[in-house]
């Protein structure tokens, strides 16, 4: 049944789709891109602008980061470096356009530039050229200056990559976003953060309890999460601006799985404060005025439709195995979206059209399949499978570009965090140390 479904997805502002041609691809979603086929782009290594010995470690990180960002952006095909000439340009006067537009490279675009350290600063110049436009080839020209650190070289690469993605793809890419997650690598489950490519992993909380379900606020100022301290699960709030915990009301019972509305004014969460069983509540983002929205007995994992904030998807075990439901944000109009298996962890796409979720499609004692990530087109309720590679796959979270999904998987043997393009390609393992779970992609 599923194999016969063809779904054409409209992504954000780009109403372009790719029909499937091969039988293999029929079970997967192709994200549309601007020209119907990925833009071919050449990205020669940036060259050293001077002879400073401090260039070397920075330029290596810069080149790796820029290549990763563009290669995984989901809208480009990068021409392999083995096709490039031995002399690559670092400055505009070193560019011969035909070298890049003709076979064997056949690149439509060329990104190039230089990096040099002097006086404790790193300077980067980067350009994007349209190889077919002899007269006015420059699409982008950017200059950056920061203190000369490896972290800053990485940061500049992410910024320059994002300029290219915005220019050619129409919307910002995920290259400057953060992913928050839970790691046990200190011996306790704490909130950690990392860049979208898995670099720059940092511990955020130091509570020594059990932290779960981190959700960053839409303005990147706070992280809401659930924490077990003193034998009570409470919603906790960490200020990224202040670098410390800030207050949030203490509620009766167990309080889990917070979720922000995309305007940052509301928080939905699961609590047993009402009847002793878990139900969905909504409160101001300060935690004030909590109101109960559901009367189920096992309701958890709410998530707002970020496009409208007028609907909430959640998980309920009210009829047995957990299923995905949606409702209006006042608790009315409850709709059951899945009706078989074990469906949990809904994640609403930025454009409001899709739900990603984790599903053990055929489930029951003795027939425990693996949990995979699926995508549902909410209007048609058509479902396609995103992951096929074994292990338990859970907690999908959308990147703000609507093209990428980060999730937790045991496919490597232990729980680790992976990212994937929403068409199932460009799978990347982001964590390797300890057990890492429940990723949450920042809104910007």
């Amino acid at each position: 049944m599923l194999n016969k479904i063809r779904i054409y997805f409209i992504l954000l502002f780009i109403p372009l789709v790719l029909p499937f041609t091969s039988a293999y691809a029929q079970d997967q979603i192709k994200t549309g891109t601007n020209m119907g086929a990925p833009l071919v782009i050449a990205v020669p290594d940036f060259k050293q602008a001077n002879a400073d010995p401090g260039n070397q470690p920075l330029i290596a990180v810069f080149n790796d980061t820029l290549w990763y960002d563009l290669n995984n952006a989901g809208i480009f095909t990068l021409v392999a470096k083995s096709f490039y000439p031995s002399q690559t340009p670092g400055f505009p006067n070193e560019v011969t356009l035909k070298t890049w537009s003709n076979p064997p490279i056949n690149a439509a675009m060329l990104a190039f530039g230089n990096l040099g350290v002097s006086g404790g600063k790193v300077n980067v110049q980067g350009w994007l050229y349209d190889t077919k436009n002899e007269q006015y080839p420059q699409v982008l020209g950017k200059q950056y200056q920061e203190n000369a650190t490896v972290d800053n070289a990485r940061k500049i690469a992410h910024e320059f990559a994002n300029e290219i993605i915005l220019k050619l793809g129409g919307i910002p890419g995920p290259t400057e976003t953060k992913i928050y997650f839970i790691s046990n690598r200190t011996g306790h489950k704490e909130v950690w953060s990392m860049d979208w490519d898995g670099a720059n992993q940092k511990q955020v909380t130091h509570l020594g309890g059990i932290a779960l379900s981190p959700r960053v606020s839409p303005d990147n100022s706070r992280i809401a999460f659930s924490d077990l301290l003193n034998d009570s699960w409470q919603i906790k709030m960490y200020s990224l601006d202040l670098g410390k915990m800030v207050s949030f009301p203490h509620f009766r019972g167990g309080n889990y799985s917070p979720a922000w509305s995309s305007d940052g004014t509301k928080i939905a969460f699961s609590s047993s404060m009402g009847t002793g069983a878990s139900e969905i509540f909504i409160a101001d983002s300060s935690g004030a005025a909590p109101r109960r929205l559901t009367t189920g007995k096992t309701d958890v994992s709410p998530v707002f439709n970020p496009r409208t904030n007028a609907q909430i998807a959640f998980v309920s075990g009210r009829t047995g195995e957990p299923q995905i439901y949606t409702m209006d944000a006042d608790g009315s109009n409850v709709q059951k979206m899945t009706d078989q298996g074990y469906a949990v962890s809904p994640a609403w796409s930025p454009n409001g059209l899709l739900l990603a979720f984790s599903w053990i499609r055929h489930y029951g004692p003795g027939v425990l399949g693996g949990a995979d990530i699926y995508l549902m087109d909410i209007a048609s309720r058509q479902i396609v499978q995103l992951t096929h590679d074994g292990g338990r796959n859970d907690f999908p979270s959308w990147a703000p570009d609507g093209r990428h999904i980060v999730f937790e998987s045991t496919r490597s043997g232990t729980e680790q965090i992976w990212s994937v393009l929403a068409d199932g390609t460009h799978l990347q393992q982001l964590t390797r140390v300890g057990r890492n779970t429940q990723p949450n992609w920042s809104y910007r």
């Binding site: 889990y256 878990s278 998980v315 075990g317």
Partner: protein, 243 residues
């Protein structure tokens, strides 16, 4: 290897001995007519007395020339009055040329009042001991929070114990196996804890004496990946918070 060889050798030797033993067996010579064996008879009347009362032992023997009652030499037949303080078994031994024979008789002693001996008084149990004996873990089926019959029995006993200890505050901890999803398991554990709480309050326990918490799959007692282990983790555990 060495041990096995030794075992083999030992087995062979044993067999040899048994087999050769059998071969040497010969019919015994006819025995001379033996002297008559002694006989002995001992009875008590009554066989059951109150403490302080007496009973009469009566005995008789034949073909005996050496008769003892509990080690004391007595006539070959006779009577004796006894006042045992506790149930006692009396032994009569009759020896003669033909051998020796025993006879016994018992006098049970009932305590004067019906006070059953305060059987070796157990040391008074602490609240923790009483609690730990009563509050056994209860187990759940996969993805279920319904109470099984065995769980209902545990909860009935626990309800009695909690009602008998008004100062107790009991925490009910719902747990799940590792297979479910982290967040849903927290809700499921909450519901499992709540199921036990509902049953206990139905059995008359004050809700104030109970606190519930879910540990989801965060605190497994068993970490293997099989059904035996998963079943151990699908449980409510009880903790005595204060007493």
């Amino acid at each position: 290897m060495k041990n096995r060889n030794w075992a083999l050798i030992l087995t062979m030797l044993t067999l040899l001995i048994v087999v050769s033993g059998c071969k040497k067996k010969q019919p015994p010579p006819p025995p001379p007519p033996p002297p008559k064996a002694p006989t002995a008879m001992l009875s008590a009347d009554p066989t059951s007395v109150q403490a302080g009362q007496s009973a009469t032992l009566t005995w008789s023997t034949e073909n005996a020339d050496d008769v003892t009652l509990d080690g004391n030499k007595v006539n070959t037949s006779g009577t004796e009055s006894v006042s045992p303080t506790q149930s006692t078994t009396y032994h009569l031994t009759a020896k003669g040329p033909g051998g020796s024979t025993d006879a016994t008789a018992q006098v049970s002693v009932m305590q004067p009042t019906p006070t059953p001996t305060p059987a070796p008084t157990p040391p008074p149990q602490t609240d923790e001991q009483v609690f730990n004996q009563t509050a056994q873990d209860i187990y759940f089926d996969l993805d279920k929070s319904d109470l099984r019959p065995d769980a209902q029995q545990v909860l009935a006993n626990l309800a009695q114990a909690i009602k008998a200890h008004p100062n107790w505050k009991v925490q009910i901890e719902g747990n799940c196996d590792e297979r479910g999803s982290t967040e849903y398991n927290l809700a499921l554990g909450e519901r499992r804890a709540d199921s036990a709480k509902q049953q206990l309050t139905q059995d008359g326990v004050s809700a104030d004496a109970l606190k519930t918490i879910s540990y989801g799959k965060e605190k497994p007692v068993c970490t293997d990946h099989n059904e035996a282990c998963w079943q151990k983790n699908r449980r409510d555990h009880f903790t005595l918070l204060s007493h």
